[in-house]
Amino acid sequence: MLSAAIFVPVLAAVLLLVWPRLDERGARRVALLGTAVPLALMIVAWLRFDGDGGFELVESMSWIPSIGVSYRVGVDGLSLPLAAMSALLFLVAVAYPADLRGRPRQYFAAFLFLEGTSLGLFLALDLFLFYVFFDLGLVGMYFLIAVWGHGDSRRSALKFFIYTWAGSLAILLGIIGLALSADPVTFDMAELIRQQPLGADGLRAVLVFLAFGVGLAVKIPTVPFHTWLPPAHVDAPAPASAILAGVLLKMGTYGVVRIMLSMMPATFERFALPIGILAVVSIVYGALVALAQTDLKRMIAYSSINHMGYVILGVSAAAAAGAGDIDSRTLALSGATLEMVAHGLITGALFLITGSVFARGDTYEIDHFGGLASRAPLMTSAILVGSFASLGLPGLAGFVAEFQIFVGTFAVEPVLAAFGLLGIVITAAFFLRMVQRAFFGALPERWARWPDLGRSEGVGLAALLALVIVIGVAPSWVLDVIDAGTSVIVGP
């Protein structure tokens, strides 16, 4: 079943590419079907998930047995929410209107291919397979940005590809170092988590940890490896930006928890403090730079760096085994995991809205707008919910996640948590200022005919934001699943 969620979109992508006479409507239908199936499958997986610890719904097949590589997929409380959120976001992004540049089949095929690789990454239980999907995602996103982006999109796409590819290769070295340390050599994640082949000390453990750390830090991204992100986001088409922020960035944080924290916790503990500091720097730096932006999309891009900082802060608190009790650390990790899901939904929605803004106004400059609320109440409501959720207003998903992260972290690293809170204050400032300048105040003459959200825009955003509210009000159904995974990871 999980394999079907990975390969149905890939097959749909192939179908689109080899069916030259398909028109735009037909291509869109194939794409909607190809993304609806994985979402349905993820819902079924959610219903069948027991949460008794360990990996469930496992499917496996021998691949390169002599070096311990197999095709193996499954879910636990960490991967299931991420995969389900990704499936939803892909459906909404594919349905969202975009400038297809006369190549509808290729556009939808790229999205479907990217969905297959993204779900594959979260569901993979073998490091080799994980890496395969990690890299293939880059290829899909490269083409999406370069062909359907705007501005200097080819350059941004190249920068994105080269930066993250360099990061991936560092991860590859880490994977090899880790797999070679196991006895016998294996890429099986469950086995590596059980074996913990590298101890806390030793040059090899530190080098492998650093390789993963640098590689994943590029992907997340944390300061100082973030410079590829703003241009990639700004020049990408809006649905691709939503996927980039909502799904691809999570691959980095997911890797940190799945590999670094689960397979080498002893080494992570040694580095928990510096990583926590780096997270706080990302939080504050991301927020301050976002505050300085006049470009709507760039501002949201930097807010992503800030939010990924919260995730890493929570993970580093969870790793500091010597400094805090198990409950606080589990709370921090659960918060970090929920933050990944919440950020995917919230920022996914915000980037989609920027796409609608750009389609109507042909610019992202916040100061060129004003008073749009009077013309577009739906769009204004959507961006208000998204912004409030992003800045952590209680009752919305972001709050639940950030609350858990900070409560957990205060018990472990109080000073870091205190500095991290600064980020929330700044985030509130720039989101409120943006909403005020662009959506309230006087409406400039040229936007007098500004149309509100259309149906295909409204339905998708409503789905994402409704979920943000539901999780904010009644989070336990998600948190139960997440806790099933995080308690095993942090547990003794």
């Binding site: 070096i67 890299d135 293939l136 370069a146 590819w165 070295l173 080098l207």
Partner: protein, 480 residues
């Protein structure tokens, strides 16, 4: 060890060289046919050559896992490594043959070409199988001599002739150096068989040993297109007839890599530090190839430099020989993956009638989507994007190198892989992101088919790497 023969390695069982004999006989038959058949019946020549290649491959395949590894008084290997190399070389030659049919259709001497292709394959095979330095030298010369002629096959074309001359001059120099090295080793060890030298070189004069082995390694480095004797590769890739460029950057490399592994295995490690030397050559080759390719606007020269850098990656396996059990499997898989990707890339160039300028690939994805896809698949395999064959090759090469304690070399290779992405994308970008400016004429169905076959092989080898890696792990390698 002996699979049915009376005396281990001490007889002359002609059956052990059936694949080679079939190639040589095939070459003679093709040559005679080319001489006596009328122009319109010359199509027999590629057909006969293909039959020779196929029957040779069948004969080679039957030798796999035979358990008998040495033959002809210990001067020739029938080990699995040699058999796999034969199969790879024969497959390469077959694909090149298909690419050649339309390219050389108008050439008055089209028929003779196929005889040369067979002899070239035979040369590479001897190089891969010889366990005696004289045999290595013989394979070297046969492979080089056919290579020069094939490169300069378009006599009227100045580029082709120039490439042939450059190839020949550097080849003459390095083949001569190698012959001299062989003589020195004979003087130091009193024999030319590798097995004999492995014993007799222990305690030999260190300076003499360094000089002799350096000369031999330089000779083999020439065939590999490795630093410091790589200069011919971009010229040949650019000037030689398209299918020949694909051949000489691929098949002789397989032979030379096998020969190099056999030669370094007999060198006394503590006295020489050959491992470090090969590691430095590897790092230098991949770095130089990549940097030179970086701003290349001529796609054929770019492919030439890319072939240089790929040799650098392959040398990583040689560094790990004897230190990691993944060394030989990673080398063989690398050769397979490299051959498939290189043939696909050159195949696209051939099918586009030798098109050079990067800008002229604009709109290829619109005009010829499958050719553009073949180009992407081959380039991404060179870079090492999974699940393509090149990725599995790089993964196993990295693992072998790290296992052997040469993690720094793996890091150099990683940095090089990042750099290489830039120039491959510089070709892919116009093909996909720019509109078609002029119609793109193509060569014909055979070359098209051969190209797509190679591209499919790149994908299939990546997805189905398991059985190959298994078989390569079981393969034995002489001497040792």
């Amino acid at each position: 060890m002996n699979g049915g023969h009376d005396m281990d390695g001490m007889s002359m069982p002609v059956g052990d060289v059936t694949p080679e004999i079939l190639l040589v006989v095939g070459a003679v038959v093709v040559l005679v046919a080319a001489l006596f058949l009328r122009r319109e019946r010359q199509w027999w020549c590629p057909l006969l050559a293909m039959v020779a290649l196929a029957s040779s491959a069948v004969a080679a395949f039957a030798m796999l896992g035979g358990g008998q590894s040495s033959t002809f008084f210990g001067t020739y290997a029938a080990d699995d490594a040699a058999v796999w190399a034969k199969l790879i070389i024969l497959a390469i030659t077959a694909v090149v043959l298909l690419m050649s049919i339309e390219w050389f259709a108008a050439d008055a001497r089209g028929g003779e070409l196929y005889a040369l292709l067979l002899l070239s394959a035979a040369g590479a095979i001897v190089l891969a199988s010889a366990t005696d330095l004289m045999g290595v030298l013989l394979g070297m010369l046969l492979s080089s001599a056919t290579g020069y002629v094939l490169t300069a096959y378009h006599r009227a074309d100045a580029r082709s002739g120039e490439a042939g001359i450059k190839y020949y001059l550097l080849g003459a120099l390095t083949n001569g150096a190698m012959a001299y090295g062989v003589v020195l080793l004979f003087g130091l060890g009193g024999t030319t068989t590798l097995e004999g030298l492995a014993d007799s070189l222990i305690g030999a004069d260190r300076v003499g040993l360094i000089a002799a082995s350096s000369l031999v390694i330089v000779g083999l480095a020439f065939k590999l297109g490795a630093v410091p004797v790589h200069a011919w590769v971009p010229d040949v890739a650019d000037g030689a007839p398209g299918p020949i460029a694909a051949l000489v950057t691929t098949a002789p490399k397989v032979g030379a890599f096998l020969a190099l592994t056999r030669v370094v295995l007999i060198l006394p490690e503590d006295a020489l530090g050959w491992r470090l030397l090969v590691a430095v050559l590897s790092a230098g080759t991949m770095t130089l190839g990549n940097l030179a390719a970086l701003w290349q606007d001529d796609v054929r020269r770019l492919l030439g430099w890319s072939a240089v850098s790929q040799s650098g990656y392959g040398l990583m396996a040689v560094v790990a020989l004897g230190r990691s059990e993944l060394a030989l499997p990673s080398l063989l898989f690398f050769l397979l993956a490299y051959a498939a990707a290189n043939l696909a890339a050159f195949g696209v160039v051939v099918e586009l009638r030798g098109r050079r300028d990067r800008g002229a690939y604009a709109g290829l994805a619109t005009a010829r989507p499958l050719l553009a896809l073949a180009l992407v698949v081959s380039f991404l395999s060179f870079v090492g994007i999974p699940p393509l064959a090149g990725f599995t090759a790089k993964l196993s090469l990295f693992a072998a190198t790290i296992d052997a304690g040469y993690a720094w070399l793996a890091v150099v290779a990683v940095i090089n892989s990042v750099v290489s992405l830039v120039y491959y994308l510089r070709v892919i970008a116009p093909a996909y992101f720019e509109p078609l400016v002029a119609p793109i004429p193509v060569l014909g169905q055979w070359a098209y088919g051969a190209t797509l076959f190679s591209a499919v092989a790149v994908i299939a080898l990546g997805l189905l790497a398991g059985p190959f890696i298994d078989a390569f792990l079981r393969a034995d390698l002489l001497p040792g």
